[in-house]
């Protein structure tokens, strides 16, 4: 009989702003260690039982380099037996960590895994790794690499999403996120303190209290200039039917750049019983896929379809959906491809537009957010999906027990 992969817990830090943010001064390894310590203390974990630590991190250099997964576990004081690794599936890293953990457990070879992610975007900015995708000319010339924002504007141009539609989605994200904070819906969020026990942050500080459509509409398009420099032409080489790329994405309807970390505890039934852990959900299926790298952001729907097929489910079987708000158009394209007409069960507590998208951590954050809300609503099946650089997509379907 197959070993099911159980989710025992999922926690996260609050998300701190990039500029003058509350988490700027804490190193990523320290931040991740604090979260690890919180998790082990919360469950009174015998950490020697942890088979592996898998941490998603998209810029694994500098502060975040040299295998932050192992380094943080060591610094958290976890048992010396605990191994750790860092993985990179770009923006899907946090969820990929969980998916690998699930596969490890289902293989029967390992029993208890800590999976999650970290990204301190204020300290290790995007592009810090100088990866060849964008920084090695022959590679980007081969891929027609364009920055994600151009890909998002391309989606909007092809599908005909107006600036107003995107801003409305952004406004909804802000309102839902603010409301969720007021009603304390994020059970998975734990406060972060400094070494003296002084509070650093206990809420997502990127959320805007009084956001209005008018404010959003005043923001300048973020990608017009780089588009004119050549990226529009580069993208149109692949999409000749597009006469012009409408630059409709702004800082307001794109995800926020923030610091944050998240951890999810995954294990077999046996390990949970042994350590006296409460199973909250089963991972029903996981999937990754890849689409055109230039438009880059259309992976969520095909990944979801793949995951649904594995789980032998239909999209109508899903009670709640978290689709990462990397850009507003990503959500709309996902809904269009999946034939979903309403956002009533999508990103119900807001998303990355309001709260920010700490690249490596977001997948695990969304899973925790989804699980909290499924429990609050007493619903059963949930889906997490993200668009991933290079044209990839990732999805995970969970079911409460």
């Amino acid at each position: 009989m197959m070993n099911e992969a159980y989710i025992y817990d999922s926690i996260r830090t609050p998300r701190g702003k990039r500029k003058n943010g509350s988490l700027n001064e804490i190193t990523p390894t320290d931040l991740l260690s604090k979260l690890m310590l919180f998790l082990s203390e919360k469950h009174d974990l015998d950490t020697s039982q942890i088979d592996d630590v898998i941490i998603g991190c998209v810029m694994p250099v500098g502060d975040q380099g040299a295998n932050i997964g192992k380094t943080a576990a060591q610094y958290a004081g976890w048992d010396i037996d605990v191994p750790g690794m860092q993985i990179n599936r770009c923006c899907g890293s946090g969820l990929e960590a969980i998916n690998i953990a699930a596969m490890k457990v289902r293989s029967g070879w390992e029993d208890l895994i800590i999976a999650g992610g970290i990204e301190s975007m204020s300290r290790v900015p995007m592009g810090s790794d100088l990866g060849s995708m964008a920084f090695e000319p022959k590679i980007s010339l081969n891929n027609n690499y364009v920055p994600q924002g151009i890909g998002a504007d391309l989606i909007a141009s092809i599908d005909g999403y107006s600036r107003n539609e995107l801003d409305e989605l952004a406004l909804q994200s802000q309102k839902r996120a603010f409301d969720a904070h007021m009603k304390k819906k994020f059970k998975s969020m734990v406060p972060i303190y400094d070494q003296n026990g002084i509070l650093l942050l206990d809420k997502d500080e990127h959320v805007r209290k009084d956001c209005s459509l008018e404010d959003l509409s005043k923001l300048n398009p973020a990608f017009t200039k780089i588009g004119e420099m050549g990226f529009d032409a580069f993208a149109k080489e692949k999409y000749p039917e597009v006469e012009n790329i409408n630059h409709v994405h702004t800082a307001g309807n794109s995800s926020g750049i923030v610091d944050g970390a998240s951890l999810t505890l995954i294990g077999s039934k046996m390990s949970g019983e042994k350590l006296n852990l409460n199973p909250r959900a089963i991972i029903r299926s996981v999937a990754t896929c890849s689409t055109d790298p230039t438009i880059m952001l259309t992976g969520p729907a095909p990944a979801t379809i793949k995951a649904l097929n594995i789980a032998k489910m239909n999209i109508s079987d899903i009670d709640l959906i978290e689709v990462n708000e990397a850009f507003a158009a990503v959500v709309l394209r996902f809904m269009k491809e999946m034939n979903l007409n309403s956002m009533d069960n999508i990103n119900v507590n807001g998303g990355s537009i309001a709260m920010g998208h700490p690249l490596g951590a977001t997948g695990s954050i969304l899973l925790g957010t989804l699980l909290d809300e499924l429990e609050r609503r007493d619903q059963t099946v949930g889906l997490v999906t993200l668009c991933v650089a290079g044209g990839m997509g990732i999805a995970t379907i969970i079911e409460r027990i």
Partner: protein, 709 residues
């Protein structure tokens, strides 16, 4: 090359082209250099070397011919590495080496200067420095990229290398390419000797242990963010059709991240790849070999001695006329600009002044030169002013009756041995020559608009045009700095006739339900400066309609006039129903909003319904190439064209047929005649008889000819 050693034990080598023979010059240059390096290496008491780089513009172009011939990657790589070794040996001399520069440097001499430890130039306005290889589709390949980036840094190297920009002396000092300036030759030599004496332990910076890249390598955060923009920037310009800038960018980046020797090999590998690329060969073949052939008188009657022209008459001071007057006066000719009344003639002169003013603003021309040009032009309504002209060009409105009247009127006022030329793009010259009292002196000179910028002139021989007349027209074209191709008279001549195919194919695709944006993208992807619909807007759809009318008048057996064609619907709809004739009217296939960029008129897709199965970009591109190429073959068949070089150069410089293809006939040659015919047959059955391969092609294949020569 002169070698000399002075009393101070400083050797000096003078590099000066001894021969203007392009074909052997560069190999000689390298051989001579090698001999001198041998000598230098064997010197025992030497304390330094001064390499004097004088006027080098002719010697310094790369050894293109040699490189063009190398077909095998390993041989090519070895050749490049061997050439590089010369420069490396100069760097490895145990004594300081100074480049003393008294002339402009290009290409190979730039490479040499960079291999020297120190560069001193005379402070002169007309000295400039450039790596122009990128314009011929190649790159600095003898360590130039590796040394330049290590000398002036990545940021300053980028545009210099990618665009082939020119640096003047001042910019070169600021960038760090030049180390010192001098006031005269003597001063330069004195400074060189001084520097050698006080820098006996000098090494190239990149050979020093503690070398750091000036302003950081490609991973320096400022450079990295800059570089990440360049692939897209390049593609915006090249659409992926020119490999040279892409290779250069890669060498700049990858070469900066490793040591000098490794970087140098990286450069050689990219250079080898570039040289073996078909596109590079096409560009060199067209822009180097064939262009020189054309300019050196390929289609000029050989027996007629060079003719001189001092005074030119231009009739019609409109769009074309004022341009012709302008380029003629600029070339030093005396010009009479005639129009039907004085105010019209003066208006033409005003337009010329406008061009000149703009050039003064851009500092392309001096005030003095402007005065000279304007002094040479007389604007008048009196035909009697034509007296004494060696050549009269009429450029009045495209109306054969009007042109006839002008011819008769003008000929009353000019001497018998003058040449009379008609500037027309559509009316057969033989028809116009009928009005002339001396048809052997009558010829067509087809200028392109805007005359001051377009380099081509299509010279059209009418039935009775004499060799002397042709020679004179040819010499005139060269005199005013244009590229002359020669063709035999025919409806639409060569350029208009073939180019029209592009526009028509665009309309055919539209009629089939392809999205206009896709059609335009395909045109640009194919390498044309603008999409076919944009082109039609520029020339006006009325003109196409006029040509259609005219051709049915002129020729009763023309292919296109027999039955309705797929573009007829489009022409008729735009002209009669939508009433949108083009840019001049402010509305055509595009909308032209004030202060905003043009965009495709949304009404088009409403009328020409989008097909469920549109053509792919590849299919559209192929149709653009084939429809034009086949028409070009017909031009050979009908003996309108007689030379492949004229055909290729005419296509590139006349209507922007993609340079990377090597020109319209090179496209067919590369495709392979038989393969081309087979493909044309398929296109013919799918899209109509305009794609049917001409008999001429069959005959060539039967005669086992493998290419147009």
């Amino acid at each position: 090359m002169k070698y000399k050693k002075d009393a101070d034990n400083i050797a000096s080598i003078s590099l000066k082209p001894e021969s203007q023979n392009y074909d052997s010059l560069n190999q000689n240059y390298v051989n001579a250099l090698l001999k001198n390096i041998d000598k230098l290496e064997n010197e025992t008491e030497l304390i330094g070397v001064v390499i004097r780089l004088t006027e080098s513009s002719s010697l310094a172009k790369y050894d293109i011919e040699k490189l063009f011939d190398i077909g095998k990657p390993d041989l090519c790589f070895k050749y490049i590495e061997a050439q590089k070794l010369c420069l490396r040996r100069i760097e490895n001399l145990k004594v300081p080496v100074v480049a003393a520069i008294s002339g402009s440097l290009v290409g190979l001499s730039m490479e040499l200067a960079l291999a020297c430890n120190y560069r001193i130039a005379i402070e002169k306005e007309d000295i400039s420095f450039e790596f122009s290889g990128v314009k011929y589709g190649i790159m600095p390949g003898y360590g130039g990229i590796i040394r330049l980036t290590r000398t002036i840094g990545i940021e300053k190297s980028l545009n210099f290398l990618l665009n082939g920009d020119q640096f003047n002396v001042e910019e070169s000092m600021n960038s760090g390419f030049l180390n010192e300036l001098s006031s005269s030759n003597d001063d330069m030599i004195a400074k060189s000797i001084q520097w050698i004496k006080s820098n006996q332990d000098i090494e190239q910076p990149w050979d020093c242990k503690n070398f750091t890249f000036p302003h950081g390598n490609a991973h320096n955060s400022h450079n990295a963010s800059l570089i990440s923009l360049y692939p897209a920037k390049i593609r915006k310009k090249t659409r992926g059709n020119f490999p040279a800038p892409e290779a250069i960018l890669s060498v700049i980046v990858e070469g900066s991240l490793v040591d000098f020797e490794t970087a140098s090999r990286i450069e050689s590998r990219f250079y080898t790849e570039l040289l073996l690329n078909k596109t590079t060969k096409n560009i060199i073949n067209a822009n180097w070999f064939q262009l020189r052939k054309v300019k050196s008188g390929l289609s000029r009657p050989k027996k007629i001695p060079h003719t001189t022209i001092t005074k030119v008459g231009v009739i019609g001071a409109g769009l074309m006329g004022h341009g012709i007057a302008y380029v003629s006066a600029k070339a030093g000719l005396e010009v009479v600009l005639i129009d039907s009344d004085q105010s019209k003639a003066d208006k033409g002169l005003e337009k010329i002044k406008k061009i000149l003013l703009a050039d003064v603003k851009k500092q392309i021309i001096s005030d003095g030169a402007v005065k000279g040009i304007l002094n040479r032009i007389t604007a008048s309504h009196k035909y009697s002013q034509l007296n004494g002209c060696d050549l009269v060009i009429e450029a009045v409105y495209e109306d054969r009756n009007l042109k006839g009247r002008v011819t008769i009127e003008a000929e009353k006022n000019i001497l018998n041995e003058r040449v009379f030329a008609s500037n027309t793009s559509t009316i057969p010259i033989t028809v116009l020559a009928e009005k002339s009292n001396k048809p052997e002196n009558f010829i067509g000179l087809h200028f392109f608009s805007p005359v001051n910028r377009m380099q081509l002139i299509e010279i059209i021989k009418a039935k009775k045009t004499s060799s002397h007349t042709l020679a004179k027209a040819f010499d005139y074209a060269l005199k005013i700095g244009k590229i002359p191709i020669v063709i035999n008279d025919n409806r639409g001549f060569y350029t208009t006739r073939v180019f029209e195919r592009y526009a028509k194919e665009g309309m055919a695709l539209l009629n089939e339900g392809n999205h206009p944006a896709s059609i335009e993208s395909a045109g640009k992807a194919a390498g044309f400066p603008v999409g076919p619909l944009a082109v039609i807007d520029e020339i006006s759809i009325q003109l196409l309609a006029d040509i259609r009318e005219q051709s049915s008048e002129d020729l009763n057996s023309q292919r296109d006039s027999k039955s309705a064609k797929p573009w007829d619907d489009v022409i008729d709809y735009m002209l009669k129903v939508a009433k949108r004739t083009g840019r001049a009217a402010g509305k055509g296939f595009y909308e032209y909003p004030e202060n905003n960029e043009k965009y495709i008129w949304p009404g088009i897709v409403k009328h020409f319904h989008l097909s469920q199965k549109p053509s792919t970009q590849e299919q559209m591109v192929e149709r653009f190439y084939f429809s034009q190429s086949i028409e070009a073959i017909r031009c050979f068949e009908e003996k309108v064209l007689e030379s492949v070089a004229d055909a290729n150069i005419g296509s590139i410089y006349g209507w922007g047929f993609p340079l990377f293809s090597g020109g319209i006939i090179q496209y067919i040659n590369n495709y392979g005649l038989e393969k081309f015919r087979d493909r044309a047959n398929i296109l013919c059955s799918n899209h109509g008889e305009r794609f049917c391969p001409p008999k001429f092609l069959d005959t060539m294949i039967e005669n086992e000819e493998i290419s147009f020569k």
